[in-house]
Symmetry: C2
Subunit: 416 residues, 2 copies
């Protein structure tokens, strides 16, 4: 971004984005699509403030995040505050607070902005938006089947072909059974899972595994590669297949970064050559309410971030072309026609049209250029003739087509 | 809010709100109405991060805010960061950064969340949302006329009667001419304007004015009360009247809290007995780019906060009743009908219906109760009969009406 020589810098804060109307259009497209597909599955929207008490993140499992990657500060009343780095602790807090009033199962979604203090890079920013879609209160695999079907439906609604992405699933229970068989200690399990999570990114996986687990390592590697599926995974895969979702594969390296997943986990991968990596993921996490000492609540969900997603959409040419929300621009041939044009605009707005009236001192040619630059599809120039005849030349700025219409036919013509 | 005896508190951070689906519905109604009316006038949406460099607020005019009411902290890279307390400095930064690429005049709107460290009270929270609608690049009164018409249109769209609220306008130039006449110094002017801004809230206005301006005070008070209008104010009022907006009155006590207004200012007042006070306001502020040493850019706009507005809507019974975004709930008579129901739901979703499928172990009666509690308007119970016949009993949960329909008629029946 441009820096001014004098005065205050016009740069945004590092690692966050300014959304001018062109960028806002894309952002709205992403957010609206996430929301409408979630609602089509019966999910209800909730939200909360980005400000949370820091203690919410001080549970054992997310300690790492609180210390290294969060924005924390102390407010003027000596309260410790955190800018939420993820939505799950917030939704857990909300569920625990109204547990008795809420009727389960619940299908909830939210598209919060989240904050992480990290070096900005491709796919990672300090602020991003993330769809959180969850089913609370269902223990059976119906929930996993639905949540993966929802993830698939969102990808397809964005225009992704099933051949562009793969849904890789695994089962924590599968890993645990291998660990049990080899008597791997609890401490070792956590380390091995973290290593598995990075398997794709490192070259010396076997060496590192051997360092962690000693003489068990070769047997462990063998069992992990053999442990290619489980009854639950097979059921989820076959039920998704009957729904026409066939790009689901078992991948035991999928363990997910967070320690709180308790059952089936999944990640959606871009399988193209250009950008081969995880786009988003989720799974079952039945212990989410433990920090509130509230009774266990089964939960299955996923978090889909806007940054990695829009990288994917760009790679596959799936970002839509900018469209103005304005339908019609009213040019004014002279300044004294603004009041008349305002009145006309008012009537057209009451019919549902979005109408902008020229109030600049520009010449008509420049007014038309401006409307065109803003991608407004239709224009009417208001002059004395139009005031007298109440007939208007409605011009389509894309095709150049022009049509004379009466006032009461303007909106119908635009919508036709 | 409820506190748990053990574990972490389930309270939100002080002075901010949790939006459960019922509250989110109201919030979406408010935000969507603000957005759609703004778009109907040809305004384009923009947005930015809540994180801004603190120096953005260190201009002379907003020093008070930076010191006392903002959330400031230093990030791990020693950058001073502020949670934006208002949107204008952000939009000024964005305009200054792309000044040369942007085509003026611009009509822009945004509905950001803003943060102020203050004692939470009715109408004031630490986080609120605020519509910012602005016209940039127009010097003439056309801009004032339009921005006030937009404010009026938003109020009417929310269902407010013109008799419920009043648009009080004043002109900074009018005050300045009175000050000029009495040779009031620049320092005194600022203090007098701050006092005028509070005139409604204090009993000893005359005494305080006399303390500030000494022997000029009685003459000043007289001139202020006589200075009842200006040519510009008259023009704005009469042009709004021709558009059918007749609840506009001159009120010289309207000076607005910020020092940056340079011309006509206005405030929209609730004139009812219960809640008589300012709901929101705005005006002309032509110096917004001065801190960037950028050429002056004329600007007219307003900021409409969600908290004061929803108090107003509540007072007048204008908050709409909760409606679910889900159209149809599919009960399942037995667990093995979930896959069939998922398939049916999938087809109906492709027609545009929002459909929730039961995946709980609840009995049918309890499933229906749950759908009803969630305000879902329609229900179909899927059993073996329905699977065989492909005929479904579609029940309207509000009226109790039931109708047997074929699969391909379900969505049309719901929309009819």
């Amino acid at each position: 971004m441009e820096k001014k020589k004098k005065g205050i810098s016009t740069d945004s804060y590092k690692g966050v984005r300014d959304f001018y109307p062109a960028q806002q259009f894309v952002q709205n497209y992403i957010i609206d699509t996430m929301a409408s597909v979630s609602e089509s599955f019966g999910y209800s929207e909730y939200s909360a403030s980005i400000l949370e008490p820091t203690e919410l993140y001080r549970s054992k499992t997310s300690e790492e995040i609180v210390n290294e990657q969060t924005y924390n500060f102390t407010d003027r009343g000596e309260r410790e505050v955190t800018l939420r780095p993820e939505m799950t602790p917030t939704v857990a807090r909300m569920l625990a607070a109204k547990r008795k009033e809420l009727s389960f199962p619940l299908r909830w979604y939210s598209i919060p902005n989240l904050f992480r203090y990290e070096r900005p890079q491709r796919g990672r920013l300090r602020e991003h938006w993330q769809l959180n879609a969850d089913i609370f209160g269902v223990t059976g695999l119906d929930a996993e089947v639905e949540i993966i079907a929802l993830a698939s439906s969102i990808m397809r609604t964005f225009g992704a072909e099933d051949s562009d992405f793969e849904i890789r699933i695994s089962d924590r229970a599968l890993l645990e059974s291998v660990f049990d068989e080899l008597d791997v200690s609890v401490d070792e399990r956590a380390s091995v899972m973290r290593l598995l999570d990075k398997r794709d990114k490192i070259d010396d996986f076997s060496q590192k595994l051997s360092k962690l687990t000693g003489d068990k390592s070769s047997k462990l590697e063998e069992l992990l590669s053999r442990a290619s599926s489980s009854k639950n995974l097979e059921e989820v895969i076959s039920r998704l297949e009957t729904q026409g979702i066939k790009n689901v594969v078992v991948d035991t390296s999928i363990v997910r970064g967070f320690d709180y997943y308790t059952g089936i986990v999944f990640e959606v991968y871009d399988v193209g050559d250009e950008n081969n990596r995880s786009i988003f993921g989720g799974g079952r996490y039945d212990n989410l309410l433990s920090i509130f000492e509230s009774e266990a609540l089964p939960a299955v969900g996923f978090g889909m971030g806007d940054v990695a997603l829009s990288d994917f959409l760009e790679t596959y040419g799936l970002i839509p072309k900018y469209e103005s929300t304005t339908d019609l621009y009213l040019c004014t041939l002279t300044a004294d026609l603004v009041d008349f044009s305002n009145q006309l605009a008012k009537e057209l707005r009451s019919e549902g049209l979005n109408v902008e009236v020229n109030i600049s001192n520009k010449k008509v040619g420049d007014q038309i250029k401006l409307a065109s630059k803003k991608s407004i599809p239709y224009i009417i120039c208001v002059g004395e003739d139009e005031v007298k005849s109440e007939k208007y030349k409605l011009k389509n700025l894309e095709t150049g087509e022009e049509k004379e219409v009466a006032k009461e036919d303007i909106s119908a013509t635009i919508w036709s």
